[in-house]
């Protein structure tokens, strides 16, 4: 088990009902983590529409997660 801080932005925050949470997980990658969170909380946004950050840098879905990481899930952007 590793401990993570997970942040949800915009539409994903609305779906989750909170902006961030600390959790213990057996997930080894953001892909595994997102799949588990979608099942647990009924997040209806497919991973292909979402980007992931680890410690405030964009990362790929198969990046190995380690204890203390800050993981962010980001829906499609609309700045400018």
């Amino acid at each position: 088990m590793i401990r993570l801080e997970v942040t949800y932005y915009a539409l994903l925050r609305d779906m989750r009902g909170l902006s961030s949470e600390r959790m213990e997980t057996e997930a080894h990658t953001p892909a595994e983590l997102y799949r588990a969170l979608c099942e647990e909380h009924d997040l209806r946004l497919p991973a292909k529409a979402v980007k992931v950050s680890v410690n405030h840098e964009f990362q790929t879905w198969d990046t190995p997660l380690k204890d203390g990481d800050e993981v962010g899930f980001l829906p499609p952007v609309s700045g400018g």
Binding site: A10, L11, V77, G79, G80
Partner: protein, 136 residues
């Protein structure tokens, strides 16, 4: 430089500060909140951003632009929080020795930022409905 601003952009110290002496051309882009979007009347909208991530991504975009164009300086301010039609949402300044790279890079950078910066907007309409833009 890049900043997310919760106050009007023209109150930020980087807004319209003096150009470099070597600058021969400066292109400024200003994006504003539109009254009408996709046939609906917007009463207000709300921007939010992931600040550290946005900062890193902006720096990457500027590095890429500097490799393509001969630029001297790029600055960008983006609003967060509640805005109404007519408010400035984004302000960008691109400086170069000559106008051609300044114009071209300004267009290049704003297109990249719109797709890459982790910033989201939620529109609120006059009919009481609301929704995240670009959200499927």
């Amino acid at each position: 430089m890049f900043s997310l601003c919760s106050k009007p952009l023209d109150q930020h110290s980087a807004y319209d500060t003096p150009d470099k002496e070597t600058t021969g051309a400066r292109v400024i882009f200003e994006g504003r909140v539109r009254r009408n979007n996709r046939g609906r009347k917007v009463s207000l909208l709300e921007y939010e951003g992931a600040e550290k991530l946005a900062q890193h991504e902006f720096e990457k975009v500027v590095r890429e632009a500097m490799e393509k164009y001969a630029l001297l300086d790029v600055r960008c301010l983006h609003r967060v929080g509640r805005l109404k039609p007519g408010d400035k949402a984004i302000w960008m300044s691109v400086e170069a020795e000559h106008r051609s790279p300044a114009f071209d890079a300004c267009r290049y950078i704003i297109e990249e930022l719109k797709h890459r910066l982790p910033i989201w907007k939620k529109e609120y309409y006059e009919d009481g409905d609301s929704g995240w833009i670009n959200a499927p």
